[in-house]
């Protein structure tokens, strides 16, 4: 039996950059420009049918990777029919941390993308309402970036420190 990630690579030869498994979990790395198309195919293809967008988050690999692949957007998909899971990863650089929004594919990605924008500053192009969700509008910066100091305070009211 061919592994799931291999099958996805065959299904989407142009979009998938690499495929494999880590600790028994399947993953594929997708080209940033092809993410929406790839997701739609993963959702609709008979052999895939990933109907759940379970999780979407970002990882900041500051200092661990090259500058042009600092952030990684990580999607976890699940198929109710085939009971399989896949991790889809997309790398974006520090100069232009942006990629296309997948809200047209799964409307449930809405808040998850807003959260990734809020905490990591990843821009999701085409998102209907990309604004802060967990933090307040006046907040400056994106706190889960590794270069945001943990002790930094930005109180809205009260003393500065």
């Amino acid at each position: 039996m061919v592994e799931l990630s291999e099958r996805i690579k065959r299904l989407l030869p142009d979009a998938v950059l690499s495929a494999g498994s880590s600790l028994g979990q399947q993953y594929v790395v997708v080209r940033r420009e092809a993410v929406v198309e790839a997701m739609r195919k993963l959702r609709d293809d008979e052999t895939m049918l990933f109907n759940f967008m379970m999780d979407l988050t970002a990882v900041d690999y500051l200092g661990k990777r090259a500058h042009d692949a600092r952030y990684e957007i990580v999607y976890h998909l699940y198929s109710l029919k085939h009971h399989h899971r896949i991790r889809v990863k997309v790398s974006v650089g520090a100069d232009d941390p942006s990629l296309d929004s997948i809200v047209p594919v799964w409307k449930g990605a809405d808040w998850f993308e807003r959260e990734a924008w809020d905490l990591y500053g990843i821009t999701f192009k085409g998102h209907p309402n990309l604004k802060r969700i967990l933090l307040y509008e006046e907040f400056v910066g994106h706190p889960l970036r590794k270069d945001y100091p943990i002790k930094k305070r930005q109180p809205l009211i009260g003393p500065e420190n």
Partner: protein
């Protein structure tokens, strides 16, 4: 046309509900656009309880994350402990070596926590619908369940019980007997809830045909847990991706049909009953033996060892100061939380601190559909709908 027959010029009214509203639990703000009592639009705003969970986790060692996970879904805190521990153990590659007794106890506390969570949720819902009597019954039942949990880990709300590679303590003496007594009481209470609510006219009128959603929409929004099962989708992580010992247990997954608030109530009621069954099965076959992994690099050696053996002393010191050394890698471990799929996505780059510690909060995905669900309904329908979604601020806002 005489003046009184002309249409009055009216405009929709904007109403702020929350962030702290007496009839909702959890700190959340609804920005409502109303036509009379009818909801034209509802914007949900969350984030009032954001405490930088991930940033804190990244600053501490792997073990220091446990108290933070308690404060995610605080109604079933120990489930978060278990989910996180399972994820770290998988990253370490030691999940096969966890003693059976520890796994059984983890299952027991998870299910007790699920019961407590559902009691809280349903109790709060009845209170907010004006049924104070039913609320008191639910709280009493939860109290008894919490007594059980308290006898295990000494706390009622924030457990901090599970450790990477085991548990902080074993079950107390006479625990099985204590459970037996409490479950007799809880089953009585359960029948009382059933009598008080399931055929109660006022309760039915408020709950039935309100807050429903179609299967396609529920899946597209990322619904999981009781809210998804209430629309008739049989998805339970305990069955589809079994963890702990769920694959060896006999229990049913209740599903609803329409997904309205009443179905969500019924699903939760049935799950309480199933959880009691699971706990009894676990206690029936609870194996004897150690509760911690025999690997000093993962789980601290016992205090007696630390004081007599230099090797154990070194491990104790290194585990505390530097943290457990977790090899580089990434893992996503899904578990069935009380609200739905609660997954931990951990990234390690090697060393004693997590590089990233992400939790997939089930109620986050469900709450975003709130506007969709209540559109066209009446303002009073927000109360039961929002209750049955069971937003937990700690988990949603992290």
């Amino acid at each position: 046309m005489s003046e009184y027959q002309m249409d009055l010029h009216t405009e929709p009214m904007i109403l702020n509900m929350g962030p702290s509203h007496p009839a909702t639990h959890g700190t959340v703000r609804f920005l409502l656009k109303l036509d009379g009592e009818k909801i034209l639009n509802c914007d949900t705003e969350i984030g009032y309880l954001h405490r930088a969970f991930e940033k804190h986790c990244e600053a501490g060692t792997w073990t220091q994350v446990f108290p933070y996970t308690d404060r995610l879904n605080y109604n079933s805190a120990v489930q978060n402990n278990v989910a996180y521990a399972l994820a770290v153990e998988k990253l370490l590659g030691v999940e096969e070596k966890i003693p059976a007794r520890a796994t059984y106890i983890r299952t027991i506390v998870c299910e007790l926590a699920r019961m407590a969570d559902h009691f809280t949720n349903l109790g709060a819902a009845t209170l907010e619908l004006g049924a104070l009597t039913a609320f008191l019954y639910f709280v009493e039942a939860r109290e008894l369940t919490w007594d059980l949990l308290e006898s295990i880990y000494g706390a009622r709300l924030t457990s901090n019980y599970v450790r990477v590679g085991g548990l902080s303590s074993d079950l107390p003496e006479g625990f099985a007997e204590h459970v037996r007594k409490v479950f007799i009481k809880n089953r009585e209470f359960w029948r009382e809830f059933d009598k008080l609510l399931t055929k109660n006219r006022i309760f039915l009128d408020r709950m039935r045909d309100v807050g429903g959603i179609s299967q396609e929409d529920a899946i597209a929004w990322g619904f999981t847990g009781p809210c998804l099962r209430s629309v008739g989708v049989e998805f339970d992580v305990r069955k589809t991706d079994p963890y702990l010992i769920y694959d060896q247990l006999d229990f049913d997954v209740p599903v609803g049909t329409t997904g309205d608030n009443f179905d969500k109530y019924l699903v939760r009621m049935e799950e309480i009953d199933q959880s009691m069954k699971i706990v009894e099965q676990c206690l029936g076959k609870l194996p004897k033996g150690p509760i911690n992994i025999n690997d000093a690099a993962v789980r601290n050696p016992s205090k007696a060892d630390v004081k007599t053996n230099i090797q154990s002393m070194i491990h104790h010191f290194k585990n505390t100061i530097e943290g457990i050394n977790v090899p580089a890698g990434e893992i996503y471990v899904p578990t069935e939380g009380s609200n739905g799929e609660m997954g931990f996505y951990l990234v390690s780059v090697g060393g004693g601190k997590p590089w990233k510690c992400r939790v997939r909060p089930p109620c986050f995905a469900i709450t975003q559909a709130m506007g969709d669900i209540v559109k066209g309904a009446f303002i009073a329908d927000i109360i039961p709908t929002f209750d049955m979604i069971n937003l937990i601020g700690g988990e949603c806002d992290r």
